[in-house]
Symmetry: C2
Subunit: 383 residues, 2 copies
């Protein structure tokens, strides 16, 4: 099998457009020159629209995890309390990162379940410098209620630190309106850029909190990023080829327009859910209120009776499509289909068709067609 | 001017070979798959030869500064003393990083001067968990005595943490023989890969030191890199296109062979020094003993009377060649020519010729020829 011809239907990395790939093969430039600064500014301008923010935006040469650490490590000190909300693997990661810098007061619920907002508020009432949330918990396919939690954070004067790694660029994120003090995104998800960069928006309130402490991280010191960013530079050597790629990917985002892009993502995920339901599959997330939703960028389904998520992943891989299994204790129990970035309806149609074939061969469904038809019915609204 | 056609003669980033640029435009792959692991292993195998080590090598998605922080942050705690040796900007950076994690006992001397080994030993005698050294202090063009300092570190039972950012891949580094517990290199220097990755070798002694403490950095947690590295993986999303580029760049290193590569670098720097001397320029480093040397990868010269380093840099830039000025308080006072990576004799010949023209126009030299001839005499030994 030619791995280069595999269709990536994962929650990142996602397929990268040929023009983005070509951009990365440009000769090196001096990253301290005017050309780099112009590229940096161009990226930040488009990102401001993606983030819906007037806050500073910095571009870090490191993955989304690096940006998550920068957010917490630069604002939270050893005497500070962080309310860490966990209903999946990335919430757990945010909690673990927070524990290295401050005192964690975790609200840890079963992975894939939705948060009870009154429980969140109880935690905040105990006093907190910051609260961390994964907007879209990629590991379980749930969209957590960022707007509502933003209101609670404001009410209780806690910094609202949000991982928008798999929403920004593909789903609605209103950074300023929701009061997100620090929002984080990775390059290789909805923005469909190559992996290796992360972008972070920082409010004035968060910048002020950084001034109150000597930031411990050095490479991820957002105060240094602020100082350099004001000169359209990065404090340390940036990953120049990835910036070339990011800039091109952001131009694609701008050309499509965020409204159309968000609608395409929502419709794609809805089509996958409709197809899954038509094939008798069950969604993994347990939504217990009106504030949480199924993810618009990654769909997590329970593995059907007698088949593991890894079986399905393997069968799909053999047919040239890479999907994702479950992480940590969910390994085998669920499987996930990403539909983020530049994924088109035809990619989703192929994925559903192949999934239907796989499920039929495994004896899970008895006939071909219902999945494909259900997906088509939803996706055709984009025509 | 076409910036893409500028000759980079800087101490990084360096020109990247077309085949390396092309490698970066390959489609994305799942970084948790077998293809990525094979690439990771291939890189580490070639790097082991570059580092001359049997130690573990990890590849971080972050610049050399990230790897410097990983080295110190994972081994040094708040009750530990770090002897930080500083005779230039990167020594200062290592000191600053160390200060975020432990107690610094700095040996800070005038930038560009060579260390007195008895002073180094005095510092170590005061007790130290670790000692940090910049092997090649890029900011001033001096090669510090790594082997001798390695012996002192061993004698006084301190971890020897060495920044080999601008030596590894272009100059002799005997990681194991010299007792370097942690050695660090950046991708965009002598290895001539694109910027954005750093590689770090870690001895068993250093790994043991990490086990004794809860490492504070998260993204740069070398214990996590060890755990994932044993499975030919990275703990967090790697910058995949940069790995494609690094692998190709390392194949070029392997094809040339390290001995030939080291000789080419040494000869190139020698040629630049010979030319500079023939043109009446003065080297910036002050070498006071037999243990320190002029750098084999970057040459720092004093700006001649009545001309600033930035004037020369600007004149050269107008002629299509990017060289470097001085950093921090050395800005204007010195200028630097990098000759690292895949820089060929013809690139050096062009640079010297253009420098000679610039100096003649500025009235620094009265005739063209002596610089070019001196460079040629040295470089022709490579023919």
């Amino acid at each position: 099998m030619n791995l280069e011809d595999t269709l990536l239907m994962m929650p990142g990395p996602v397929p990268v457009a040929p023009r983005v790939l070509r951009a990365m093969s440009k000769p090196m430039i001096n990253h301290r020159g005017a050309e780099f600064s112009a590229m940096y500014d161009d990226c930040c301008e488009i990102l401001a629209d993606v983030f819906q923010t007037k806050n500073d935006i910095f571009i870090l040469s490191g993955s989304g995890t690096a940006a998550m650490e920068a957010a917490v490590g630069c604002t939270v000190g050893k005497d500070d309390v962080v309310v860490a909300l966990e209903n999946g693997k990335f919430g757990e990661r945010f909690k673990d990162i927070a524990a290295r810098y401050g005192n964690v007061n975790a609200l840890q619920i079963e992975w894939g379940h939705s948060f009870d907002l009154s429980e969140v508020e109880k935690k905040l009432e105990e006093g907190a410098k910051a609260i961390t949330l994964i907007h879209n918990e990629t590991s379980v396919g749930i969209q957590n209620p960022a707007e509502e939690i933003g209101k609670l954070a404001k009410k209780h004067d806690a910094l609202f630190i949000m991982d928008g790694v798999t929403t920004l660029g593909g789903d609605t994120v209103k950074t300023d309106e929701w009061g997100v003090d620090i929002a984080v995104v990775g390059s290789q998800k909805c923005l469909a850029a190559p992996p290796g960069l992360s972008m972070i928006s920082v409010s004035e309130r968060a910048l002020a909190a950084m001034d109150e402490k000597d930031a411990l991280p050095y490479y991820l010191d957002l105060k240094a990023y602020k100082k350099s960013g004001d000169k359209s530079q990065t404090p340390y050597t940036p990953a120049v080829p990835l910036f070339f790629g990011l800039q091109e990917a952001l131009h694609i985002v701008k050309e499509e327009g965020m409204d159309a892009r968000i609608n395409r993502h929502a419709t794609g995920a809805k089509a996958i859910r409709a197809a899954a339901t038509a094939m008798g599959l069950e969604m993994f997330p347990q939504l217990n209120d009106d504030h949480s939703h199924y993810s618009n960028t990654v769909t997590a389904m329970k593995a059907p009776e007698g088949v593991t998520g890894n079986d399905i992943k393997k069968d799909m891989m053999a047919r040239g499509i890479t999907i994702a299994g479950g992480q940590s204790h969910l390994s085998g129990k669920i499987f996930r289909i990403g539909s983020m970035g530049n994924v088109q309806p035809k990619d989703i149609m192929l994925t559903i068709q192949e999934l239907e074939v796989v499920l039929k061969k495994r004896g899970v469904v008895s006939e071909l067609g219902p999945g494909v038809e259900a997906a088509s019915d939803v996706l055709d609204t984009l025509l």
